[in-house]
């Protein structure tokens, strides 16, 4: 009980904790998007020709596409020519040791609670920090490379491991997959790359931290995770942005490739700036995340806690290609004020005896709209497949909305699919019970909400679970009564 109180106290009167910005000297591309900008980015990153060609092909495809309108979200038309597609902290770039890093930047990350200083770090998480879509520092590189694990920024990987990038880039999410993935493929500036060799169990959590700093920029990073046979990795992703009055665009791509017997666990705590109480500002979070269980017995597990962003449009998906492969999706999506979230997953069953599990908990408060959109597809070949989906929504107040759009397509006769969903509010009897035991209303709600989301929270790594719990309480601040 006391801990819940603390959490709430800690955050009382705070709006968005990470809403400050720092004045780095930044290297920016001019506003707008055209082939020249794509060439400019590629040139800045000193990229080989094949990658430039790939970018240009994506750009040309994107230019022909129309922005999709099917999601259950509303936002003013994005002016794609009013965005800067490249912004890099000037002093970032390639550095050999942390001592060379801009002290301002180290401070920035310390303010965010991320220590880039390896020696001081006890818990042992390797971090790749990305500011305005350029990777500025990666920690614990040496320790990891002893095991053959490659963990570095995407641009570094392009130069040092081109064969891997060539093979896997766009293999899970082709550039032409959708509007935002095509945009990302054309202009992505950096991101994280991770390769776990055969039989290696990654000894520490790998983590990427994204931060949008500059104004008027979009962030377009790309993450590629490759897990070879019998390997294991747990990957964390966090993000924040300064408070600004205009909306900023974030269109990322995350690709995961899991070979035979490999297991990848991908956890996200998404805390982009959600806009203020009146719905001004905030990040448009249009992300494409997909993993493929390419080998037999592979497993991909997505866990996400979505609390930020003005508009979210995100469906971490699994293609279950290998026989006996497993896909999991655990999600807590909280929306408050004027936030809108349309999030869910796709489970594409292709292999035999594949299993998937979806647990989605949506909490809407204020004037927000929260949608779950899921697609479970069982192809004819995917015999004896199994899916279980559960989507629960919690509504706080009568000005918000909770929506469920589950698509279930089954093409064979021996698979078992179950879907269930409920929508309800916090029971007055539950609040009464808590209050009777001395909790005030706000902490009762925090307690109940945390209980509601427990099933998902339990799947988060320790370090994230604490942060996520705090975030939940913070996001729902002031929504009771």
């Amino acid at each position: 009980m006391s801990s819940d109180d603390q959490i709430l106290e800690e955050f009382t009167s705070k709006e968005y904790e990470h809403g400050w910005s720092v004045n780095f000297e930044a290297d920016e591309a001019p506003m707008g998007l055209n082939e020249e900008i794509v060439r400019f980015i590629s040139h800045k990153k000193n990229e080989p020709k094949w990658l430039l060609d790939w970018r240009l092909k994506s750009y040309r495809h994107w230019a022909q596409l129309k922005e999709p309108k099917w999601a259950n979200v509303e936002y003013p038309k994005i002016d794609y020519q009013g965005i800067k597609y490249y912004s890099a902290p000037k002093k970032g770039g390639k550095i050999k040791s942390l001592n060379e890093l801009d002290p301002e930047m180290i401070k920035t990350f310390e303010r965010l609670g991320i220590s880039l200083n390896e020696q001081k770090r006890l818990s042992g998480i390797a971090v790749d920090a990305v500011i305005d879509s350029v990777s500025v520092a990666t920690t614990f590189k040496e320790t990891l490379s002893e095991l053959g694990i490659i963990f570095c920024s995407f641009s570094e990987a392009v130069h040092e491991h081109p064969e891997l990038i060539k093979k896997y880039l766009g293999s899970v999410i082709p550039a032409a997959d959708n509007y935002f993935s095509a945009l990302n493929s054309a202009v992505f500036s950096d991101g994280s790359f991770c390769y776990i060799p055969k039989g290696v169990r990654c000894p520490m959590e790998l983590s990427t931290y994204f931060r949008i700093n500059a104004a008027n920029t979009g962030q377009f990073e790309r993450t590629l995770i490759i897990a070879e046979d019998d390997s294991y990795v747990s990957y964390l992703e966090g993000c924040t942005a300064p408070m600004r009055d205009e909306n900023q665009l974030h269109a990322a791509v995350v690709e995961i490739y899991a070979a035979k017997n490999a297991e990848v666990k991908y956890s996200t705590v998404q805390n982009w700036y959600p806009g203020n109480k009146d719905g001004t500002g905030g990040i448009y979070n249009f992300v494409t995340k997909r993993g493929i269980c390419a080998g037999d017995h592979a497993k991909i597990s997505w866990t996400q806690v979505e609390t930020g962003s003005a508009v979210t449009w995100k469906y971490p998906s699994c293609i279950l290609k290998g026989d006996h492969s497993v896909g999991e999706f655990y999600s807590v999506a909280v929306t408050n004020n004027y936030q809108q979230a349309d999030t869910g997953t796709k489970m594409i069953h292709l292999g035999k005896h594949t299993k998937s599990r979806i647990v989605s908990k949506g909490i809407s408060a204020g004037k927000s709209q929260n949608s779950y959109r899921g697609h479970v597809k069982v192809s004819k070949r995917a015999t004896h497949s199994r899916n279980f989906s559960q989507c629960d929504s919690l509504l706080m107040g009568n000005q918000c909305g909770a929506h469920t759009f589950p698509y279930i397509d089954v093409d064979n006769s021996n698979s078992q699919i179950e879907h269930e969903a409920t929508t309800s509010k916090i029971g007055e009897d539950q609040i009464f019970y808590c209050k009777q035991r001395g909790l005030d209303e706000e902490s009762s709600v925090a307690l109940i909400v945390n209980g509601f989301a427990k099933e998902v929270m339990n799947n988060l790594p320790m370090e994230f679970a604490v942060e996520a719990q705090k975030l939940l309480a913070l996001t729902l601040e002031g929504s009771v009564g």
Partner: protein, 413 residues
């Protein structure tokens, strides 16, 4: 729309023009323009994603080849249920008052003018083409007999394009019971585009039971729109067994407090039958209730589509809405697409939905077989038990029996 289809539809309209009342011709023409300026929905249309009517019609039906025949060797009365009530006959889509056997003269009217509004292409198509409309209206405190509506289609001479149109109004404190059945003859394709609008006024109750056991060259679109006033009750039961295409759109608008809507459905399909049930319930006032249960057994190359929408608007506090879709898939060639959808804007509500796709319970099968019941019989027993839950809400005993017989015939052979 393709020129050939446009010309086909235009031809049918011009052929029929003489039959239409001149005062409503302008309205029909505006509906026709609406139709011709739109396409029949295909895969790209979210509502028809799994039922691409455009392709199905293109492949199987040609407006150019439709005929309008008034004569038939059908003896309608042979098919009437041996029960007291109103036996209403539709032939090739138009209401035939002189062939019908009407008990409550005061309740059944024929309307020739066309002034109904339309929202989508099938609605408009019906409004443009229906020859006459049957209006069933039961006045306050009047007790009517049940209405048995028979749709006869005779496609022995050529393709038939039928547009039945019915309006049902239940005035306060009345109860209306309706049973619909379709009988067809002939081997040419039949395209039925049915539009039924229902208004259930305060404290009234309307039950509609539909039996859809068509021939395989019958393609049907059924738009049923229901408006409910305070404290009214509406029940829909639909049983689909066969047909080339069965698409049922059921839209319920609850426009007052304390409304109650029940939707029950069963589809038991084989061959290449395609059944698509789309339902939408719109809760706009407090204390309303809806309950939906659709069950299906899908065998051979059949396809079943289910899409249930529940909207709970911000004012509709204390609403209870339940929705369930359960499927048994017996064949690897069969497909099931289901999408139970909830959209909720009110917080003090209880809403749930669930859906399952599975197969025969192996343990139950084993249990029965270990007690000496043969495999096929055990299978039938389980499937019958599964389907019969949906019969509970039929108001007529004999219909229950009839549907039960159909189920048993289908499952036991």
């Amino acid at each position: 729309m393709e020129t050939s289809v446009v010309n086909g539809i235009r031809d049918v309209f011009n052929n029929n023009e003489a039959n239409y009342q001149s005062s409503s011709l302008a309205h029909r023409k505006s509906a026709l323009d609406f139709v011709l300026s739109h396409n029949f929905p295909d895969r790209k249309d979210e509502e028809y994603k799994y039922t691409p009517v455009n392709q199905i019609l293109k492949k199987n039906f040609n407006f150019k080849n439709t005929i309008t025949s008034k004569t038939t060797d059908f003896d309608f009365e042979d098919y009437f249920y041996q029960l007291e009530g109103n036996h209403l006959v539709f032939f090739n889509g138009s209401y035939q008052p002189f062939q019908s056997k009407i008990y409550n003269e005061i309740c059944c009217h024929l309307e020739k003018k066309s002034n109904q509004s339309f929202h989508d292409i099938f609605d408009a198509l019906n409004v443009a083409f229906y020859e006459n409309s049957l209006k069933i209206e039961v006045n306050k405190n009047y007790r009517s007999q049940p209405f048995f509506i028979y749709y006869f289609y005779d496609s022995q001479q050529g393709q038939i394009f039928g547009n039945p149109n019915i309006q049902i109004v239940g005035h306060p404190d009345t109860r209306i019971e309706i049973l619909e059945n379709t009988i067809s003859k002939g081997t040419y394709p039949v395209f039925i585009n049915k539009k039924v609008s229902v208004h259930v006024k305060t404290n009234a109750e309307i039950n509609i039971t539909k039996i859809q056991n068509y021939k395989k060259h019958v393609y049907q679109i059924y738009n049923l729109e229901v408006n409910q006033d305070t404290q009214s009750k509406f029940n829909s039961n639909v049983y689909s067994f066969a047909g080339g295409l069965i698409r049922n759109n059921l839209k319920i608008n609850q426009m007052g407090e304390n409304c109650e809507s029940h939707m029950h459905g069963l589809y038991l399909i084989t061959g290449h039958t395609h059944v698509d049930n789309h339902t939408a319930v719109n809760h706009t006032h407090p204390h309303s209730y809806s309950n939906e249960l659709y069950k299906g057994i899908v065998d051979e190359s059949a396809r079943a589509v289910f899409n249930g929408k529940i909207f709970v608007r911000p004012e509709a506090q204390k609403t209870n809405a339940f929705q369930s879709n359960q499927n048994i898939n017996l064949s690897d060639e069969a497909s099931i697409y289901t999408k139970p959808q909830l959209e909720i804007w009110a917080d003090d509500v209880k809403c749930s939905h669930g859906c399952t796709v599975g197969q025969l319970d192996e343990e139950a099968l084993f249990y029965l077989r270990s007690r000496g019941i043969g495999k096929n019989q055990a299978k039938a027993l389980i499937l019958i038990a599964f389907s019969e839950q949906s019969l509970e809400h039929i108001p007529f005993e004999f219909v229950k029996k009839e549907i039960d017989t159909l189920i048993r015939k289908r499952l036991i052979g």
